[in-house]
Amino acid sequence: MPTEAERLATEPGPETAKPTTYLEAIRDAMSEEMRRDPSVFLIGEDIGVYGGAFKVTKGMIDEFGPRRVIDTPLAEAGFTGAAIGAAMMGMRPVVEYQFSDFISCAFDQITNFAAKTHYRLGTAVPIVFRAPAGGGIHGGPFHSQNPECYFIPTAGLKIVAPATAHDAKGLLKAAIRDNNPVLYLEHKYLYRRVKEVLSTDDYIVPIGLAVLRTTGSRLTVLTYGAMVHTCLEALEHVPDAEDVEVIDLRTLVPLDRNTICDSVRKTGKVLIVHEASRTGGFSGELTAVINEEVFEYLDGPVRRVTAPDIPVPYSPPLEEYYKVDSGRVATAMNELLAY
């Protein structure tokens, strides 16, 4: 499988000259889908006139009007439930939470109503929950969380976490077209920090497919979201970097087991890196999958680098303690390569 850079270099089709940021890619995905499909609409707090807490929806109310870019009262359960009801009637709402931290207020609606409706009644709930996740912006305990593990065990939800502008756009378009509830974890640290020239084709990134960011034969690194960039940075401090295969999972549910297992069969060693805290983190599930499916190929223990089991603190030195940085990842990579 080609690396992202190779794919971008070889992909045919016209290209825009100007790089698109991760944030703009999200906006473009929504705008294109809204132009394509009149059943798509946006709902959330401060998304219309103000353009959203992060300005992701800036200008969209001008093009699509207040009926399709709906500002709501401060009530996550309320507007989430309303979006679910509209989705059950065949609309395709895209719900914005100002910060993924606030999705907990809508937890019941998402896990009990949206996720279980198709199983119980056969009624599809085509809905996207956009949750700006992650830290590194001095947001403190309530503006920095990574909530994926509250949702991963809930059957009926799909969960994606793009790392690049290309994937941010393609996964969001796929999520909007999907007939299931999709939790779309957009990493707020990446909004304006990553950008690339995107194809102007109407492409999607299929839900459920991981991608290799680098290829290598001695160590598999499993990661997603902003940690993809942290892992790639870490390679600069790894003498045997060419032996490291960094897999960007992109979709957490349903998990691309094939890509993971194929890589582990080749490398025999695994490092899992995620920004969320440790206990009950996704690394535990990934480790179990590897044990169940490719244990006999392992040449060492599956290791993980994660945040500690603490809330996300505010003050810069405290946040440094919390954050997974490229130095810690490089150390783990070097130790596993030497194991």
């Binding site: 009926r67 309320g78 507007f79 309303a82 679910i84 065949g90 109503f113 198709h118 009644l121 299931n180």
Partner: protein
């Protein structure tokens, strides 16, 4: 905006409407009596929650609805299901865990719906349906579709945040939705005075900027009148309304609940005000229903129950492996 409904101020509804009221209240009673028997016999293995004594509310608010309107009945409003076209057979199959039920055995009791016939589903998390029904109404508004959503909950649900968030959202967005509270004075064992420090649910609803009305929930015509006005208002694009029907729960919370915590005199009062008996008496007093007609109606109800139950029992149990299907839509 808090008004007492005036059930007698308008011209009388047509007798056919009254017949339908009586038929569906009677059918609910008969189906639920049979469900309780099946439960006592061990043939229904899950929870059973009946609406005995409060049939007038679900029947009253569902009869004014038209095709493509969507109703979210509460877990005791079997009459509303029947009126919107959920068959007796499917209801029994649901309780019996058979393939013929609307959830194919995946969920129990009145946790069911079928949007093809305009029925959304209640879930155990009381009041979740309140914002969801607002969303159904939002879809009507966005599509310029002249339809209305109706959503009922019990009094306990009005303590939950989702109830308040849903009412507020519906009012702010001026959505075509009607909210109904079936206030039967108890949420499981919790009496209304432990549920709220105000004396009526209407007082809670009054804070949200929509017309609020209290009606005698044991008077099916009064409920129907209030619901008709609210539904017409919503359909005309004038936004949501709230109706509190006050009633009694003539049974326990579930069929496993002995109601030992309810003062006996309250149970007696509820029984004395049985809405089905009261409606039959009223029709007889008006000369609209003679003994023959009543017997005929009761027989047609019994037939519907026997036929529906027989067919439901013929419906197979799902295959075990079907448990793994349908988690995701294609």
């Amino acid at each position: 905006m808090l008004n007492e409904a005036k059930g007698t101020a308008r011209p009388r509804p047509f007798p056919d409407l009254l017949r339908r009221m009586l038929y569906f209240m009677s059918l609910q009673r008969e189906v639920e009596d049979r469900i309780v028997s099946l439960y006592r016999q061990g043939k229904i293995v899950g929870g059973v929650y009946t609406g005995r004594g409060q049939e007038a509310i679900g029947v009253g608010y569902a009869l004014p609805l038209v095709e493509h309107d969507v109703v979210f009945p509460c877990h005791r409003d079997l009459g509303a299901f029947l009126i919107k076209g959920m068959t007796v057979e499917r209801i029994f199959a649901q309780y019996l865990g058979r393939v013929g039920g609307p959830t194919r055995g995946r969920d129990a009791n009145l946790h069911m719906g079928d949007l093809d016939i305009g029925i959304g589903s209640f879930i155990s998390h009381m009041a979740d349906t309140v914002p969801v029904a607002a969303g159904v109404a939002l879809s009507f508004q966005l599509r310029n579709q002249p339809n209305v959503a109706v959503c009922a909950t019990g009094d306990g649900a009005t303590s939950r945040g989702d109830w308040h968030e849903g009412l507020n959202l519906a009012a702010v967005l001026s959505l075509p939705v009607v909210y109904v509270c079936v206030n039967n004075l108890y949420a499981y064992s919790t009496p209304i005075e432990r549920q709220m420090a105000v004396s009526t649910v209407a007082e809670r609803a009054s804070g949200y900027g929509m017309p609020v009305v209290r009606v005698d929930g044991n008077d099916v015509e009064a409920v129907h009148e209030a619901a008709s006005q609210a539904i017409e208002r919503a359909r005309a694009g004038d936004g949501p309304s709230f109706i509190e029907g006050f009633t009694y729960r003539m049974t326990g919370h579930s069929a496993a609940d002995d109601t030992s915590y309810v003062p006996p005199e309250m149970l007696e009062e509820g029984k004395a005000r049985d809405p089905l008996d009261a409606f039959v008496r009223r029709l007889q007093e008006r000369g609209m229903l003679d003994g023959n007609e009543l017997v005929q109606l009761q027989e047609s109800v019994k037939d519907a129950v026997e036929t529906g139950l027989k067919r439901a029992l013929e419906s197979p149990y799902p295959e075990s492996a079907d448990a793994a299907g349908g988690v995701y839509a294609d």
